[in-house]
Symmetry: C2
Subunit: 356 residues, 2 copies
């Protein structure tokens, strides 16, 4: 029995990935060893790592200047690692503040240089993506968070700038078509759209590195990881294996273009119900609505607990909203089947009729 | 079919752990979700994390001053994180250099203060543990690497000092009885004796923290992880789950005391064969021999390739020595069955007879 898993991350994965991984835990590729027991410098694992890195490059259609790394530490590590590697003391970086995660990224950058918060929707509890802002031309890069998990907003059009663009894509990577080559550095904790918790993918232009003079701890220097083929230290073997399997699945489905079609269809159906069902209401500006995290509340908040319980009975899990927004959040990542959204919409319709 | 897995890490795990994990990958505790799909702030995962942290505390018999953390990043991250948190600019830390890993730890510490290498066996290719050295009384801590995977040496008696002791125990944690309370901070990549690659255990005395004035990036500040119950950011869920299962197994076996008996028996049998078989020879000082990594060479190096091939036919894997030592290295971590060492010794005996 599988539930309808709307978790915000870690989140639903394709069944094929789970079955394959479950077998690999007992015996990996006929080696007589579990995937957890093989040496990380053996051909067995090098093939996994190489395939994962190649699949990222292929699926994102990245130019040759890009290197793809699988690092330890989550996006929260990138918050400090990015400015440590890209921002010289005394220089300025521009950040657009669209939620808790971009705010945290900004905070960490302040240890390495000046931070210019060029725009923020903090005052309105991050219910929209700022549209009008001036980017200081002397800034070293512009940092954005392409999708804001907690609030359910998403950049629909990337900002136009001559500055190197840096993006945290943890919650919408490979969920839609994008010209990834417009960026200088992209990072993503893989546990939403391209794997399970335990590793972070960094795609970085080699030409963007080596421009700061500070002494960078070896393990935090992107160049060290590039030189070592993303194998400077023992990598998180299993997390990379799961990401590789998830990317294989993603490719079989038709890549980012197919994911975009599916995700538009899923989000469209759910937003349509929210807009048409008198009990529910969306929480963010319509033009900035995320296709990954659909946030909504009830006009009668006293019904929310009851609706949650009703959903639980229908095997719908993970839809409780973040405490800072309240209400509900349904996350519709790549691996969430269309059918789960149908069940969700049916539940909303049925609950609404019951209450009419 | 299981092979005899002498890998240096990632390495062999108990079968019970692998079977349990394989099932949890499909359905975790009847939740209808994989262990990879559950939210990290749900009770389901909090129970896993709490149990893992408690088991570490119990099995290491740590005093209340200790906090146990499961962090991202591997021991190589601790090389810089330890001095960043414990060493003030201008202060001195003492290090004993017993191999590549302690050397790397020393190198990273130099970014944060002065490093006094109080002793080193580098000149003799790290074939022993230095015994005579003077520890500067003004040093802030003394750092040692309790077991040296590449060379096969191990501290049999801990250094006696009034300084806070810091230890990298990545390759022998919980493999023997030790008074862990003699230390101020212990770190260990879990992939050898207490889990699979993907997380690092840090046991740190709260009283040792908060004494440096530098600005520490949030994600690298031990105090932040303590305040957040080792959940500051999305943790490496699966790696922590595997560690919890491995610790459960370890407790069922009888804890560190039982592991010590088993590991002494395994290592004793193998070293005895090395000392008695005319074809083989140990590479390190007898009194410093590691019970975790047994390094040896052949008197006739031209036979080594043939012996390796012979072992492969006997399903013995992972015994090729590190390139800086050559010959062979058999790693006998906690989960390696006694029977695997018997098979190895039989292979050595048989090969020797064949060549006599």
């Amino acid at each position: 029995m599988k539930v309808h898993n709307f978790n915000a991350g870690p989140s639903v994965l394709p069944n094929e990935v789970l079955y394959k991984a479950s077998k690999a835990l007992i015996d990996f590729e006929g080696s007589g060893m579990s995937i957890l027991e093989i040496g990380h410098r053996t051909e067995l694992f090098m093939n996994v790592l190489d395939e994962a890195r190649s699949l990222v490059k292929e699926l994102m259609q990245l130019e040759d200047d890009f290197e793809v790394l699988y690092l330890h530490g989550g996006a929260s590590t990138q918050f400090m690692q990015v400015p440590m590697n890209l921002l010289e003391n005394g220089e300025t970086a521009a950040y657009v503040d669209t939620g808790v995660w971009s705010y945290k990224a900004m905070k960490e950058a302040k240890s390495f240089g000046y931070v210019d918060a060029v725009a923020s929707s903090r005052e309105s509890n991050y219910n929209h993506i700022p549209k009008q802002f001036i980017i200081p031309p002397q800034a070293k890069f512009l940092h954005i968070t392409t999708n804001n998990t907690i609030y359910g907003t998403q950049w629909q059009k990337m900002p136009v700038t001559d500055l190197p663009l840096v993006a945290d894509m943890s919650s919408d990577i490979l969920s839609r078509q994008l010209d990834f080559n417009k960026f200088a550095l992209i990072y993503a904790g893989v546990q939403k759209n391209m794997g399970a918790a335990g590793t972070t993918m960094v795609a970085v232009r080699k030409s963007a590195l080596g421009k700061v003079t500070r002494k960078i701890p070896t393990i935090l220097d992107y160049r060290v990881h590039i030189e070592n083929g993303s194998m400077y230290n023992t990598p998180p073997v299993f997390a990379i294996y799961i990401s590789m399997l998830t990317l294989r699945w993603l490719k079989e489905q038709g890549g980012a273009a197919a994911m975009e079609r599916l995700n538009e269809k899923k989000a469209g159906m759910l937003y349509s119900e929210i807009d048409n069902n008198p009990l529910f209401r969306g929480t963010v500006a319509k033009e900035d609505r995320s296709r990954m995290n659909v946030c909504f509340i009830m006009d009668k908040p006293e019904l929310e607990e009851e609706f949650l319980k009703f959903c639980k009975k229908e095997d719908i899990v993970g839809i409780k909203g973040h405490r800072s927004v309240g209400g509900f959040r349904a996350s519709l990542y790549n691996a969430l089947p269309y059918e789960s959204v149908e069940v969700m919409v049916e539940a909303m319709k049925y609950f609404s009729l019951k209450k009419a």
